[in-house]
């Protein structure tokens, strides 16, 4: 089971969900180049100008570990990265679990993405402004996890440690992308986890994907927001298990 993190974070965002599958699966976590503890020297502006570069990162991981029958769990923008990777090498993947997916964030004629171009520009500007005080984001912190003592004090690394320039480009590649044409070509069965009241990926987008993606299953979660694996890990795990159980048992 491979977990692909979304925009703005790194593999640590799976820490509430991934451990639940460790008994049954070989769990693989990774950071895209430019995120987390990846080697920044490997960053190539050309390669990562579109999501194809990130799809290649994902396939590189799959090849390096020679993974087969992969259950690919992808969040947010990674959902489309997963779609691209699965279309490129369908034989490698058994199931896709796409959390808060969206093929296009900007509204188009006859399509509701949730945003206008101006909104995305606002986001980019906000990111610019926050990089002024970026140091505080990167500062190592001891995480207090009263509810989860097992994660406890040992984790002293910062989260969401993303290079500002890379993050800015990632944001452009993500929010200005349009992968609607890739969706109908998906042959790997997929679970679409749609949060209620997710304003990054509204319900219309989830319904659109379910309609366009062959063999997809849409589950609308009780969880609100865009990061159910952070805010509602239990529900996320439960829905995943429910979906994977028959396939895995068979």
């Amino acid at each position: 089971m491979v977990f692909a993190h979304g925009f703005g974070c790194d593999q640590n965002m799976w820490r509430f969900v991934a451990p639940a599958f460790e008994d049954e699966y070989k769990v693989v976590l990774f950071d895209y180049v430019g995120s987390g503890k990846s080697d920044l020297m490997a960053y190539d502006a050309q390669r990562y100008a579109t999501l194809d570069g990130y799809a290649q990162d994902l396939l590189d991981v799959v090849h390096a570990l020679d993974l087969k029958d992969v259950v690919l769990v992808a969040h947010s923008v990674s959902s489309m990265v997963a779609v691209l990777a699965a279309n490129q090498e369908p034989g490698r993947f058994e199931r896709l679990v796409l959390i808060g997916p969206s093929p296009r964030y900007v509204n188009d004629e006859g399509y509701v993405g949730g945003f206008e171009r101006a909104d995305i520009d606002g986001l980019l500007e906000m990111m610019d402004r926050n990089y002024i005080g970026w140091a505080s984001f990167l500062a190592p912190a001891i995480v207090k996890n009263p509810g989860r003592p097992e994660l406890g004090q040992e984790l002293t690394e910062s989260f969401c440690s993303t290079d500002p320039v890379v993050a800015r480009r990632f944001a452009e590649a993500t929010f200005l992308s349009d992968n609607r044409a890739d969706v109908p070509r998906v042959t790997v069965p997929a679970l679409l986890l749609q949060c209620s009241e997710d304003m990054v990926a509204p319900l219309e987008v989830g319904e659109y994907l379910h309609r366009e993606m062959p063999g997809s299953t849409l589950r609308v979660m009780k969880a609100t927001g865009h990061c159910p694996h952070l805010s509602h890990p239990e529900e996320t795990i439960e829905l995943m298990r429910e979906y994977l159980q028959p396939a895995h048992a068979g």
Binding site: G6, F7, G8, C9, N12, M13, S76, F115, E116, D119, I120, D121, G122, L123, L124, E125, M126, M127, D128, R129, N130, I132, G133, S136, F137, A141, V143, K144, P146, S158, F159, C160, F175, E197, D198, M199, V200, A223, T224, G225, H226, C227, L230, S231, H232
Partner: protein, 452 residues
Amino acid sequence: MSEAGALPGRAIDPLLDHAPVGFLSFADDGTITAANATLAAMLGHAPGELEGRRLEAVLSLGARIFYQTHFFPLVRMHGRAEEVFLVLRAADGGNVNVLCNVARVERGGAWANDCVFMEVKERAKFENKLLLARQEADRARMEVQEHAEELRATNEQLEQQAVELELQQQQLQEAATELETQAEYLQATNDELFVRTLELDRQRAAADDANRAKSAFLAVMSHELRTPLNAIGGYVQLMEMGIHGPVTSEQREALDRVARSQKHLLRLINDVLELARIESGRVDFVLETVDLAGLMADVTPMVEPQMDAKELVFTVRVAPGRAARADREKLQQIVINLLSNALKFTPPGGTVSVGLARRTGEPEMLLLSVADSGIGIPPEKQAQVFEPFVQVDMSRTRRSEGSGLGLAISRDLARGMGGDLTVQSEVGKGSTFTLWLPAADEDAGETRRVKA
């Protein structure tokens, strides 16, 4: 946190309600659980209006994404965040720029995310300047990178060109080397040719020397041989005259044979001597105008008796008035030689005729021909008849008693006078020898100059 509120039902400390900073607390599901009056005023809401609504209600669209992708994960994972810039949305839809500090705390068995918001106005101007400066710097850096890229590309092109030029230079170098090699080869060939030419010159000089030595030797030897032969001839004559006593008929026959042999040998030696003298260039030609009809009139009586004896039809057709520039004596010698040959090689009853002709377009030469109806000469042997010591049929040499030098001497003499001697012949039909002579009569036009 106090449970007391400024308004009924509001879970907010009155002290906090009017603090000079916006305060808001939200649950993990995004529901606003508390907001102070300062924040409500900042956003144009009535106090208590925000509680129970979703956080997205106070965020601009861009901030909503930022909240979902950065802000919330950060707070959820770190437990706090500081100096986060957010664009809030006011009740009238306008933007309010704020700096936000957040702390995640457990309160009443649930997680609460407490935020304070400080509006930024003046500070935003400085930040704008800073951002602009950074954007400028980024742009400049990009330009520098682009220039660097261009320079690198140009450099690569130049390097490529340099490589190509080097390649061309190498090719030229190779071509030059090749040419040099060829030149050296040609020079070597030239040197070799020069050496060969020198060698040939040396060989030719040596051959000329040898030839001259041979001729001189022959001349001397012939002279030395002639003296004793003359003595033999003289003593034979004395004995035949009976001066040394009576001679029996057997002795006379023997003396005749000695005399014949002596004459043959003497003639042979004379011929050799003459040829040697001609070839060594020691023969002087006395050139004068020779009337050919007159010449034939002198020669005819010398051969007519033998022609008659062999029953040969001998005719001379030389029109009067034709003259050649020649050495009279030597010309006579050539003609007699040709007539002797005709006489020798024509069977009884045959014909021998002398004619004179002049070729059209070549008036400066006279052609005196001696034709016979003799045995003829095969084509492959015709060139050899002028070589010394050669007779076409060696078996006949003995019978004809010739030295084999007659035609060689005749041609050398003809050439010595500026003429030539050629032959046309057909086996079984006869031969025609043609003597080419420079004309000296009035039809000859400009008299041809003859080297002596």
